[in-house]
């Protein structure tokens, strides 16, 4: 890893990191980028492992979507994160793509990012000056831009320990059933008390603003409730209100605002069920 960060730091031209390559190769092929250096991090041991750490998980930067889906403990603890990662592209793409790549592309529509933000995930960044850890939501700064500095590589993603009675879910809207980019994405993570009252919640939205949005008002709508109709209505309204979307080839502004609320409501109910809520 040290070697990799040094190479990247020294390169004077355009340098890119290759993990799964499912986005990088498309950009290469279309002539969108013309790199002087490509560093393949797949062969760095630490990037390929999913490890249990302090009751949570450390997911290496080059772990593929397919590998996430095959990790029984991870799926059990963070089903929403895994289902989000498994929605990226086709089965073919799943064999290569990584959550870290999804994050570093800094697309507002990246599927795994709202789920990671809802999960309060952090990233470990290796760089010429050592390592640092920051929350996932601080990585993308604008479409296609991240807060990573020259020579820095995201080494792994950290998912925290799950309190009992917790659940998460991710839903996205696409026009087809597969192979599309999210028009709207919603990640929800909740923790319940033994009576089924929400004690903690995080809600994140994708594809409705220049970066993925963490929506504290939406979480507030759920906390202290049993997710009755009025709480879900408030959640939907908070999500719709937080959207700052654009009209584009994938959907209209109005559509995104409306559907963000609809999906938030649906995702919250799935998360609640996964947390053991009745």
């Amino acid at each position: 890893m040290k070697q990799a960060t040094t190479l990247l730091a020294k390169e004077k031209g355009k340098a890119f990191i290759l993990a799964g390559g499912t986005d990088l190769l498309v950009r290469l092929r279309t002539g969108f980028i013309e790199p002087d250096l490509v560093v393949d991090i797949k062969r760095i041991g630490a990037t390929r492992a999913i490890a249990g750490v302090g009751g949570g998980f450390r997911i290496g930067a080059a772990v593929t979507g397919a590998e996430l889906g095959e990790h029984v403990k991870l799926v059990k603890a963070w089903p929403g994160v895994v289902e989000a990662a498994n929605l990226i592209g086709s089965k073919q793409v799943q064999g290569r793509c990584t959550m870290t790549g999804n994050l570093c592309n800094a697309s507002p529509a990246a599927d795994s990012v709202p789920a990671l933000v809802a999960a309060a995930a952090k990233v470990v960044i290796a760089g010429p000056k050592g390592k640092r850890t920051i929350p996932v939501e601080q990585v993308p700064t604008a479409p296609g831009k991240t807060s990573l500095k020259k020579g820095e590589i995201i080494e792994s993603i950290l998912l925290p320990k799950r309190p009992p009675r917790s659940g998460d879910a991710y839903l996205r809207f696409i026009p087809r059933t597969e192979m599309d980019i999210a028009v709207v994405g919603v990640g929800v993570s909740v923790t319940l008390d033994p009576k089924g009252v929400v004690t903690d919640a995080r809600v994140a939205l994708g594809a409705v603003a220049p970066t993925v949005l963490l929506v504290p008002e939406a979480a507030k709508a759920l906390i202290g409730t049993k997710m009755d109709k009025s709480a879900l209505d408030k959640l939907a309204a908070a999500c719709s209100a937080a959207c700052r979307p654009i009209d584009d080839k994938r959907g209209t502004r109005d559509f995104r605002i409306k559907v963000a609320g609809v999906l938030a409501r649906r995702a919250a109910q799935i998360a609640r069920k996964r947390a053991g809520g009745k």
């Binding site: 002539g31 809207f173 026009p175 087809r176 059933t177 192979m179 980019i181 028009v183 559509f255 409306k258």
Partner: protein, 759 residues
């Protein structure tokens, strides 16, 4: 006129109608089949095309000097390398202009220069070094905008044809068409109920998975060869030869296996460019389009804007039908609006009918044929109004259609009087189908629609050679796009009375056969099939003559039965039957090789009709649509290979599902295509779909010895309307714009809710 007088309906078939394995099957499941891009040649160069980034721009200057100096660049061609050999043929001039821009670039993606280099990287670099001085002009991509006075004009040479008096000012309206009969205005006066609506459809692409590809090899002696994926290699040969000023005899074209076409490979794009590059470099040049180029620079179909007005009496009889259709066909004349207007009301028996069509040019790629060109859009508009009228009359949509359906003897809306046709049969079968009675779930709706297509005949030439062991080599000139070689083998085997696997069919190159029209218009099983039958009959005649010679009896005294020559009767003599193998074995001694040929312009292609039934489910909160059940009922005349007939029904239906729900060309304000890739041009994926049930009806076409009708295109005519009708039923709001994408459905639902709240 029927070429054959036998009664097709009474025939018992031995192999036609069975489902044998296709002869090209093993190659296609093992990766060995050679498609367009799979060809290579020693010393081959890579050809790449530079394309206009502007929707409309005058090309003031092209400077290739820097690119020429790049090591590894072997040839560069621009408009200067394509002098006009078209001799006033306006349609051919459009093709010339389309393959390489001349004074103006007329759409984003229009070819402006091309390079042949030693490798892809060098070719790419060279393209960047070509300097083009553009004067960007105002552009127009929408059909209705392009028709308005004051719209940017593409061609100063277009003065609308078909209107009196002929306009003195140029416009984007190429031509006005009108079809129909009776008195429409008088008809509407009798009507108790009239429904009038305006519809819009977006442009869609054929979406074949194989991009255009060819390998050209031209030399300084003026001779050339071309290996290409195309629906018609004779068309490619003749067009390229004429564009490049070559003798047709000096260009030999071989059709590769073809990875889908659906009409999109019935013209030339890269082929003349590859030949010009090869000629200039004096080396083989391969040109393969990228997917992005396929979307931007090959031919999608038209986007349209259509008004339909239909009036009925209370008893459900249609008294008048009127439509105005506006189709943009991209930067050149030739949108399929003529077919759209002809087919619009072809399903109905009408006294007063009119369809007016306008062919319009815009700054988009030149349209190419797409499966039943022009018909799905007009069927969408008409069948939507039909469904709505049925509702207003309180009739079931199927009974309303049965009451007004075209039948034998109907004076069709486009002119001819129908012979035996299958529309009523598909409707009556549909009415009995379990799908029609099945219960619907929540948020689900059912819709149906009918569709019509002419089917084509065309020039065809087939050669059938009997080998020395009695097996048969069949050469056809129509590229096999969906299993036609299997159907040809079946028909040859049927006629000769030999097993299917004793016949092998190939698609021969352009030097081996006379001219064949392209594989289009659902014509191959009909035309090439009929030519194959006649070629087999010619061979049988010769086989009988050889048997007669062997037996020493007159030719007329020999008949052919199930693969054997037999004396015609007891008077002819008592000889044991001679098999085709036995006769063939003696061919050398009895007069040489035995072959049958047939060449003709096929006539008598029977029209075909289909009825589709669709159940759709609409999520009222998101506008997402799911097709939950789909049934196709279509008249095939006679299904030669039923599996491939079903495949045509299913494929057409699913292309229709894509068109109806998600597929569209999306243009930005800059006139550039925003979704030139399979990620955002959303053709249906496997998980989007239900099984597609099929019912094959066989109402024999009197114009074919076995009763065959073309089947490939009719199946895409009803889906747009059938799906629109089912979605409208499920959502509770009439959808009049395609695609019915989720944002459009949700917006329609909201408009409806607001309207209801206001009432």
């Amino acid at each position: 006129m029927p070429l054959d007088s036998t009664q097709p309906s009474k025939r018992d078939f031995s192999v036609v109608g069975t489902r044998p394995l296709r002869p090209d099957g093993i190659d296609k499941v093992t990766g060995r089949a050679k498609f367009g891009a799979d060809a290579t040649a020693p010393g081959m160069l890579v050809g790449r095309i530079l394309r206009s980034p502007h929707a409309h721009a005058r090309i003031k200057k092209i400077d290739t000097r820097k690119a020429e100096k790049l090591p590894g660049v072997k040839a560069i061609v621009t408009r200067e390398d394509f002098p006009d050999h078209t001799n006033g043929d306006a349609l051919l001039y459009d093709v010339l202009y389309n393959i390489m821009a001349r004074e103006k670039a007329l759409y984003e993606g229009h070819a402006v220069a091309a390079v042949a280099a030693v490798d892809a990287r060098t070719a790419r670099e060279a393209l960047k070094l070509i300097k083009i001085d553009y004067e960007v002009l105002p552009h127009v991509t929408d059909v209705d905008e392009a028709m308005k006075p004051g719209a940017p004009i593409l061609h100063s040479t277009i003065f609308t044809d078909g209107v009196e008096p002929k306009p003195k000012k140029p416009s984007n309206i190429v031509r006005r068409y009108e079809f129909g009969h009776g008195d429409v205005a008088a008809g509407f006066k009798q009507a108790d109920i009239v429904v009038e609506r305006t519809f819009k459809t977006e442009a869609t692409h054929q979406g074949y998975i194989e991009p255009h590809a060819c390998l050209a090899n031209a030399g300084p002696d003026g001779q050339a060869e071309l290996w290409v994926c195309t629906q018609g290699h004779f068309m490619v040969r003749d067009t390229c030869a004429r564009l490049l000023g070559m003798d047709i005899s000096k260009l030999r074209v071989t059709a590769s296996e073809i990875g889908g076409g659906f009409g999109g490979k019935t013209t030339v794009f890269i082929e003349p460019v590859a030949l010009a590059l090869s000629r200039k470099a004096n080396r083989p040049v391969k040109v393969v389009m990228s997917r992005d180029e396929v979307f931007k620079a090959s031919g999608p179909t038209s986007s349209t804007s259509i008004d339909v007005k239909i009036g009925v009496k209370k008893d459900g009889r249609i008294v008048a039908a009127d439509a105005t259709l506006r189709y943009q066909g991209g930067a050149f004349a030739g949108s399929p609006v003529e077919f759209g207007a002809m087919t619009a009301f072809a399903c109905y028996d009408l006294e007063n009918v009119r369809a007016v069509g306008y062919d319009v040019v815009t700054n988009r790629p030149k349209q190419a044929a797409y499966r039943a060109p022009g018909a799905p859009m007009s069927a969408f508009a008409v069948e939507s109004v039909i469904e709505e009228l049925a509702g207003k009359l309180g009739m079931t949509p199927i009974d309303f259609r049965i009451k007004n359906a075209a039948r034998e003897g109907t004076h069709s809306s486009y002119g001819p009087t129908y012979g035996p046709v299958g529309l009523l049969a598909t409707l009556e079968k549909a009415k009995q189908h379990p799908h029609f009675k099945a219960p619907l779930g929540p948020n689900q709706g059912r819709g149906m629609a009918c569709g019509f297509w002419f089917n084509f005949g065309g020039q065809t030439c087939v050669s059938l050679n009997v080998n020395n062991d009695g097996t048969v080599a069949l050469s056809v000139g129509t590229p096999d796009i969906g299993g036609s070689r299997a159907s040809m083998c079946l028909m040859a085997a049927e006629e000769l009375g030999i097993p299917y696997d004793k016949v092998r069919a190939i698609v021969a190159d352009t030097s081996s056969l006379g001219y064949n029209d392209v594989t289009d218009g659902s014509r191959v099983t009909f035309s090439t099939g009929m030519a194959t039958i006649h070629a087999a009959r010619a061979a049988i005649k010769k086989l009988c003559a050889r048997a007669a010679q062997i037996w020493g009896i007159p030719e007329e005294a020999v008949t052919w039965e199930k693969g054997y020559a037999k004396p015609a009767g007891p008077n002819a003599g008592n000889f044991p039957p001679l098999s085709i193998a036995e006769i063939a074995a003696q061919a050398g001694a009895t007069g040489g090789p035995i072959a049958g040929h047939h060449e003709y312009s096929a006539d008598g292609a029977g029209v075909s009709f289909a009825t589709h039934i669709v159940d759709a489910e609409v999520d009222p909160e998101t506008g997402a649509t799911k097709i939950v059940r789909y049934t196709v009922l279509q008249d095939a005349g006679k299904a030669v290979h039923p599996s491939y007939v079903e495949g045509q029904f299913q494929g057409g239906a699913v292309q229709g599902i894509g068109w109806a729900l998600n597929e569209e060309y999306i243009y930005g304000k800059d006139g550039r295509l925003q979704n030139a890739g399979f990620l955002d041009y959303r053709i249906p994926v496997c998980s989007d779909l239900p099984m597609i049930d099929t019912v094959i009806l066989e109402i024999p076409n009197p114009g074919h010895p076995y009763g065959v009708r073309g089947v490939g295109e009719t199946s895409i005519v009803p889906p747009l309307a059938a799906i629109a009708n089912s979605v409208s039923a499920a959502a509770g709001v009439r959808m009049t714009s395609l695609p019915m994408s989720p944002p459009r459905i949700l917006a329609a639902l909201e408009r409806q809710a607001m309207k209801r709240a206001a009432e």
